[in-house]
Amino acid sequence: MKNETVLFDDTHHKCVMFSLEDEEHAAHSLSVNQFLIIQNNSAVLIDPGSEVIFSDLYEAISRHIDPKQLKYIFFSHQDPDVAGAIAQWSVATSAKLVISQLWVRFMGHYGLMDMDRILGLEDHGAQITFGSDYLRFIPAHFLHSPGNFSLYDSRSKILFSGDIGAAIASPQNLNKRVDDFEEHRPFLEGFHSRYMASNRFCRAWVQCVRRYDVATIAPQHGSLFHGENATRFLEWFENVEGGAEHCDTLYGCEKT
């Protein structure tokens, strides 16, 4: 499997996917993806992963852009496989680190006390405009983290969905693209029913996402959904039942 794929390139705007695995994830076939958006002389890095892959990712990025040109590093949520290398990235670049406001006060634990480096996202999200294009941080709270965002890139029409759409051990992960949604679906089910908080949030997220013209859904783990498969994924996801719906089974304390 090659660990670098150009997802979009129209000479002004480029999106690259890296698939650097740390050992922990490789052992569980979690198939991790990191993303880089470059427009002209600035760049945004998305979910750069744990400390283990920092060096390799830094090197991989350097092949496309001087890391000094990273303007923002976006962390969809606070998990260590997403935000574990905050200290390294804060030293290696002068980028603003973008994360839900909910996690800002924990930054000391990640190795950063300078809140001037952090752009804490309010619950409704935000938009970064560059030229006629924009990046939109779409709320994805409780899917699974309580302070969670997806990122939509208006130029490439890619939705970077974080943990939403993650598939575990799907044979289609090898090519990093879903060719047959029905065959891929069983590998989505276990993760989503256990990690997503409730169907209500799944529906709210799908409703927000449908406001945008999404050509590709790019999750942080597993394969990308293009075109019709992205539509199929949204249709499936709005019916996903999560923790709230399976509460009794999860707690095992139902009435006897």
Partner: protein, 505 residues
């Protein structure tokens, strides 16, 4: 027996509202209606759901109390129909049995309360008290909404509601300031608002690299300085904010807060000599802090702990003569206490403010009070990269003109692109811009890492009879990665060390 004072008060709160009671048992209906009349002037009775619904349409009561099992139309169906007409109506269900099924259904249709028959006066009083609270809240909301208009017009700020980039509504001060008779004229003027914003250094106005609307709408919630001339051609200094309205795409509120009297315009755009005089003036800094206070701007407080940057948002809460009080988080107060000074920056300020003369740090109230402050053109807040004070796991030696420097070098701080060292003596001819070779040795858990790099002498100073030299360098790929790792880990250690201080008394 119920407290007569409570009953009296409840009647005073409720009597002007009306109540519809639906119960097919005629005896019970008559009996309960008599009771309800003690609270409400207007009580209407019905004997089945159908009659209830038609009487509701006729009288429009604010409260409906209904039985469930009744001929023609049951109480739940009737309640659903009533809520479809007016969802604010309070519906109270009465039933002889504690039926869970029924309860679920009632919740679904938004029933306010579920009372078991026979009705008990205590339960009724409790429910009616809650009704009166709901009515009071609705009444207050109504007053608020009705008076919002007045609040909007009589505040000093110029406030516009925009849709895309057009004015939908604006308050009276907008019309007054621009000298236009009505909103229509203001809309026209606003179409060329870019021309209204005057050129001023570091302010927002249309020029080569900036279009005002694109700039402010890309940064909702941020504060901007703008300059606008009034009808007498006198320039006013405003703080502009742009806030998009949540859930209403395309709508936004733009407000302009006039801070002209603080006399800050000249600070942003003046000749060097004038600026020098202003910089020395504490009054100017006080005016900047006051501008921050009035606009509710978040002001960033910065401190350093062994090179570790600690920064958090703060708010200026009071300015009394020369004494300023700011609210800042606990961790920042600890850093201020340690450093006995701090820097303040804001998007509104032309440069950083150095604050000293700390009079009081109140950890309970999370505030700091200080009385000395001045503007500084350079400060650690402008550092591009993270710099840390090293530990003994990093050593360095230097080669200058192929000869190794034999006196000991002490590393004062290190970053990814440079190093500050102190040394007792320097070789002859050693000067700024000269090139040297540095051998940096990092001790790690596994093995020592040697980074060999050429560097440039950036600055030489004399400090306490020692020379202080700043080297700048660009490390090769492997060296860079090792250095990032060293600094990130060192930063973590310093954070832990600082947290230790945080818990000291």
């Amino acid at each position: 027996m119920a407290d007569p004072n409570v009953l009296k008060q409840l009647r005073a709160n409720l009597h002007s509202y009306s109540l519809l009671y639906v119960e097919d048992n005629t005896g019970l209906n008559a009996q309960a209606s008599t009771l309800f009349k003690k609270f409400f002037d207007n009580v209407v009775s019905a004997y089945d759901g159908e009659e209830g619904l038609s009487l509701f349409k006729l009288h429009r009561p604010q409260i409906v109390i209904t039985d469930i099992n009744m001929p023609k139309m049951d109480g739940l169906k009737m309640s659903e129909a009533i809520h479809a007409i007016d969802s604010d109506v309070i519906i109270i269900i009465t039933t002889a049995h504690d039926e869970i099924e029924m309860l679920h259904h009632s919740i679904k249709i938004g029933v306010f309360e579920y009372l078991i028959k026979p009705l008990k006066i205590d339960n009724l009083i409790e429910t009616f008290t809650r009704c009166s609270e709901v009515f009071l809240e609705a009444f207050h909301r109504k007053i608020f909404n009705a008076n919002l208009h007045a609040v909007f017009n009589y505040q000093n700020n110029l406030v516009f509601l925009l849709h895309e980039r057009n004015v939908v509504i604006a308050n009276q001060p907008c019309l007054d300031f621009f000298g236009v008779p009505n909103i229509e004229a203001l809309r026209k003027k606003f179409q060329s608002f870019g021309e209204v914003l005057l050129e001023h250094k570091s302010f927002v106005y249309d020029h080569g690299t900036m279009k005002w609307f694109e700039h402010i709408s890309a940064h909702p919630g941020r504060l901007f300085n703008v300059k606008i001339a009034d009808q007498e051609e006198v320039s006013h200094h405003f703080i502009l904010t742009f806030q998009s309205v949540p859930e209403k795409e395309g709508y936004a509120v733009l407000s302009l807060n006039d801070v002209t009297e603080l006399g800050l315009l000249k600070l942003y755009d003046s000749t060097a000599t004038e600026k020098e005089a202003i910089l020395k003036d504490e009054k100017t800094v006080r005016a900047l802090l006051e501008m921050g206070m009035r606009s509710g701007a978040k002001i960033k407080a910065h401190n350093l702990y062994k090179g570790l940057s600690i920064a958090n948002d703060g708010l200026v809460v009071t300015i009394d003569e020369r004494v300023v009080t700011m609210k800042v988080p606990y961790v920042q107060l600890k850093a201020m206490q340690h450093e006995e000074m701090f820097y303040l920056t804001s998007e509104l300020f032309p440069m950083a403010i150095l604050a000293e003369g700390i009079k009081r740090i109140d950890f309970e109230d999370q505030s700091v009070t200080f009385e000395h402050y001045h503007l500084v053109s350079t400060s650690p807040t402008r550092r591009e990269s993270i710099r840390v004070t090293p530990d003994d796991k990093i050593q360095m030696s230097m080669l200058y003109e192929e000869r190794k420097l034999d006196t000991e070098l002490e590393i004062m701080d290190v970053s990814l692109g440079g190093m500050r060292v102190q040394v007792l003596s320097l070789p002859a001819g050693f000067a700024v811009k000269h090139s040297v070779i540095l051998d940096i040795v990092l001790t790690t858990m596994l093995r020592p890492i040697i980074i060999n790099t050429t560097a440039e002498v950036f600055r030489i100073d004399e400090v306490n009879r020692r020379f202080e030299v700043v080297f700048i360098f660009t490390l090769h790929a492997e060296g860079k990665k090792s250095m990032i790792d060293y600094i990130a880990k060192r930063q973590m250690v310093l954070i832990r060390e600082f947290k230790g201080i945080q818990y000291e008394k």
